[in-house]
């Protein structure tokens, strides 16, 4: 649904708030919609229905209060709406916020460049793990010295 897609993109910068922190890379709203479409493919129809309903509710609220859908509001008005939404304090509200924010949060904090800034350097870890293959051969608790049959980086116990 186009309005949902546009809303997911429009909501993304407000959910992430990354502009406020210098080191964090910029959010890419398209990542959120790409992830959501993959997620809908693998998930249950109810997840798609609930997410769609959450974004439609947000738009309905904006239409009633501001006369425009969320993506058509200016940045300041969008920020004010999202501020109200994020300020709600109840378990139900948390579920609503979860549905609105999960695509953005998941797509953004899965990015390798973002995680690297936070100290989780996937590229380096991948390289390290790639050099090290634990095999099931051998006994437990023996010194880990590579033997003649072991390829470089392979650990044999």
């Amino acid at each position: 649904m186009r309005i949902v897609e546009e809303s997911v993109r429009a909501v993304t910068p407000h959910v992430l708030g990354t502009g406020a922190i210098e080191d964090l890379p910029e959010a890419v709203p398209r990542d959120s919609t790409d992830l959501l479409s993959d997620w809908f493919e693998s998930s249950i129809p109810e997840f798609q229905a609930a997410t769609t309903l959450a974004f439609l509710s947000l738009n309905l609220y904006c239409l009633m209060r501001k006369g425009r859908t969320f993506p058509r509001l200016d940045h300041g008005a969008q920020a004010a709406v999202m501020g109200r939404v994020f300020g709600m304090k109840s378990a139900i509200a948390f579920l609503f916020v979860y549905l609105l924010s999960t695509p953005a949060v998941t797509a953004y904090y899965s990015r390798e460049d973002v995680q690297a800034v936070l100290g989780f350097d996937i590229a380096a870890l991948k390289e390290e793990a790639g050099k090290r293959v634990v095999t099931r051969r051998g006994e437990l608790d023996q010194p880990s010295e590579p033997d003649a049959e072991t390829s470089p980086g392979e650990t044999t116990l």
Binding site: W39, K89, L95, V105, K126, R136, L157
Partner: protein
Amino acid sequence: MIRSVEEITGDLRLSAEVVVIGSGAGGATVAKELSEAGRKVVVLEAGRHFTRDDFNFRMDNAFINMYWYGAQVMTLGSPVFLLPQGKTVGGTTTINSGTCFRMPHRVLKRWHIDFGLWEIADEELDLYYAAVEEYLFVQKCDPEVMGKNALLFLEGARKLGLSGGILSRNAKECEGYGVCCFGCPSNAKQSANISYIPDAVEAGCEVYTGCTVEEVVVRSGRAVGVRGRFCGTSRGAAGPRLEVEADVVVLAAGALHTPRMLQVQKLCTSSGQVGRNLTIHPCCGTVALMDEEMGNPKGIPQATYIDEFADDGIMLEGGTTPPLGIAMLLPHKGRRLAEFMSEYPNFGIFGGMLSEHCSTGRVVPHPLDDRRHLIFYTLRGEDRRKYKFLTELMAEIWFSLGAKSLFTTSASFAEMRPSDLSRFKRQKAKVSDFMPSSAYHPLGTCRMGSDAGSSVVMHTGETWEVENLFICDGSTVPTSLGVNPQMTIFALAMRSAGFIDDRLEALACRTRR
């Protein structure tokens, strides 16, 4: 051989002595034991086969590719729990933290007294546990790699006089990459996909992936095979059909799918227990903002535990998690989320679970699509107080360690300061205050027992009503275990494999006569 769905070009008809549905802790164990005993075994797995080259440290990829329904399986009730389950070769063992516990003796005693399962003796079960532990290299986490977070929390708990220790895991030469739940990138975690399944395959077992079983074929009260379908190339598209004739059928699809399959076919339902008695371990996490760096995410996701209140059904287990795990737990969004996430290196994280409690739920087929299920579960009575106590306990420990702020799953204390703790403790445990959280370890939906009127399977794992139909997964475990269940599922499946082998021998003798 492990065959992927792409290799299947047309409808398939196979015959085997045993067909196993599911390749998790239960199915993989049965497949390996029987294949190595010289039996012809076919395993059918709904998920795909992934190897360490596919495990790319990314939570989003893992959710979408290796978890049932993109990790969005939810319970219906209050509060709402996400119940993530593995959908890949190795089942949930491929995406769990690898925590290994034997079942406490008090729980087995309860099985004896309440369910008449005297045949499962302490000494016998201990032998199976020992065999599984040796095979899976179960050992205590290495303090050098477990990460600062886990050790610090344990130290804090001990200073408060609480008992706890270092967890045992099925991991060999673990380097603490912190991503066990998204597939171990070094093959250190001895999940079924790199242990039982490869050994079963080496012994001649055939594994078909991307295959959903639609029907257990029953003739004259005996299971004689299964029918199913491979998944198509696009969502909803039907792939080639599959039919397997077998002397024994083993259902090992887990405590959510196994009962659904029986209910849809109205098999073994006369006791009224199929799908009922669901126990799960409702969890809640706490994220603490510390003054010092916590070494995230290098470490082990679950490395230490606090068991001071284990007899009351309260267990704390924890370690570390990548940034996304923290971002999902933080209650804030927008600028505050970014501000807090920039403090990621200083976050401590620990989780708690209601490990034994009286609430139970049930699983039923989805009324609009019987290939899926609905899960009903609500925390009742005393369990609500215990669930809230999990957060109180973790808060107490974090604040004693100097945490500045604590993020919790309580709606009214989502961000808690040290001065809030006494007010939080005084607050009544209300379901409306519990934010949606996650739960793990579904068990009990096809429970084992000593009479056909109140249970689905006998102690051997065979169903009371359909001969040669065995269930070897968490669904047969009749009560909550008080601990993480994978070792018990491995051990019970190993035990059942012996009975299945005996049955095949008896069938062969009957044929020879």
